[in-house]
Amino acid sequence: MEEISRKAGRLPLWRAAIVVARRDFLAILFSRAFIFFLLGPLFPIVVGALAGGIGAQVQSEALSADVGIAMPAEDMEAMLAARDELAERIGPAIPPFVELQRLREGEEFDPVAALEGREGRLAAIVTGTVAEPQLTAPEANIARWSGTISMIAATASRTEANSYPEVASTIVATSGARENRGRFQTAQSGMVLLFLLIMLLAGMVLSNLVEEKGNKIIEILAAAIPMDALFMGKLFALLAISIIGIAVWGVAGTVILSLGGRSLSEFANPGVGWPLFFTFGAIYFAMGYLLLGSIFLTIGSMAATVREVQTLNMPVTMAQVLVFFFASLAVTRMGSWFEFAAMAFPLSSPFSMLARAAVDEAIWPHFVALAWQALCVAVFIRVGAALFRKKVLKSGPQGAGKKRKRLFSFASGKNS
């Protein structure tokens, strides 16, 4: 009888979940909206890159201000030569000089009038002589350039040629400080990327049961398969869709970065190494997605209408941001109880653990964390499905009279 029951009973959880996941996955994959889903995140990247390029150019043009110079011809020559000599050694910290006027004897130059006339892009004007240079500029530029002008004047005042000793150099791959800072930056970058991906993608789960509730197919599903399987199927279908999206965005991002001459070598090697870091990144994305997604799915399943789901979007996003802040704060306190709390709290655990993978070589904590996160996913799905059964399907005892009476016992058969 039990054997018959097993074959006649509902599909096992995993098989039912696959049936649901397959349907959802194909429905999304072959919908027109999926193209927009794939292209969506690329728009901000392209727009951001364009805006960034234009902004950088504007900023560079705006910030590249000249220093005018008006001095007697001899002093002028000395100042210009000194400026070029120093610029060759020091670089862009030495501002370009714009020759305004070579003064004849007794001739005067009014730098205030020249600056207030706002001609060209003069930020300051040097007048006087090499021995007594006079800098006229707004206060901020005085502070910025007075030392530099003094140095140029000092160089210009020397009669003999300057000699600069060669500095012998020994190159090392990194330093302790640089490595720590670099890993910290890798941790932060990894967390931000993980957060952005989960925030972008897990939100989709919120409205995932609305279709089933709206078209009433939920009754058929509820009669045929366990609700846990429905929740699992939906989560894993969207996870698969998200992974496809990430793969596409990853390739596109790599191409864009490499076109821009950027590469991973700009980041410090993570503690566990790049291959494992990427592997953990993918797994923690999946876990973070499933953890947040199972909660979102439960919240969304309680909503009666699309409007309710839309209303829930904002508080849910804010909750995500809070969790991210919590994990971000924990990164700054590595090894403290605060970090441990962030690793233990299921929703922040994937973020914190990815950060840990960036800064720490140990691998075993990740297996512990992953087991914990998987357990939490299972619990969240179970609780979500139970809530859905009770609150939406109205199954189980409701209101008064919760005690279930057994009015009579059936004669035969052992049933579960």
Partner: protein, 319 residues
Amino acid sequence: MDNATSEQAEPAIIARGLVKRFDDTLAVDGVDITVRRGSITGILGPNGAGKTTTLRMLLGIIDPDEGERRVLGHENPKDVARLIGYLPEERGLYAAMKAIEAIAFMGALRGLPLADGRRRGRELLEQYGLEHAAEREIRQLSKGMAQIVQLLGTLVHEPQIVVLDEPFSGLDAIKQSKLEVLIRSLADKGVTVIFSTHVIAHAERLCEAIAIIAGGKVPFAGRVDDARDRIPAQVRLETSAEEGPWRDALPADTRRVGQFWYFPLPESGIEPLLRALIDGNAGIQSLSIERAGLHDAFVAIAGEAAAADMVTTPESEDA
């Protein structure tokens, strides 16, 4: 009796004392139902009587607060979920799915491999004259066609019990008639069919047994003939004489409708009455004994208020 025979002898569905409350509303109040294997059983009742809640409890979608149910020998209907087909009252399919995929998907939910589901789905669509709809998306189908697709999805895994909640609702007269044929053919194959309806004519034509639900209770459950026998047969009499001593022979609760007199068949039978009418010079033009219809039985059992929501003939359905 061996095990197999014992299983066959056991009713497909037994429910005893099912109670379901939604918050403070008592939706179902002690429902008892027994459904014989291979029979067609109708659940009759006005809207809001508790029909759907009862079916949902029998299917295991919701659990009763009190009482017990046994489906195909199992206390938990989920243990035999693959042997059950269910068409809910509120129809629903994924709009972007092709009809054949929708049928196969519903079969897959009940354990039927997708390839088998597609093959059987095509056969069923062909039987129903809808083979042209196989590759069309649900949203491209008419409401009635989509409903048939859903019904075929309910049957594709060849269930032993088919539960249909208001299956005739939304179908035109031709499709209703086809559905009646389909339900009969299922029963002929040994499938147990249980359907809810508020259209008495469907139950009258199809069902071997009915359960009348009103106000969450089941005032009657049994054979259709037994329901009719709850009220005595009606005598319809037409006379040429308007007045006379024959009038004294008529029972007290006789009604006059047009040229006819209606009254319940006396317990003493028709012969003494007939003799009194002849002796009293009634001038009998016609006399017939009419067995009570299911509608009359429903009124007698569930009351006028419950009957007010019921539809007697399917023609008044939204065709």
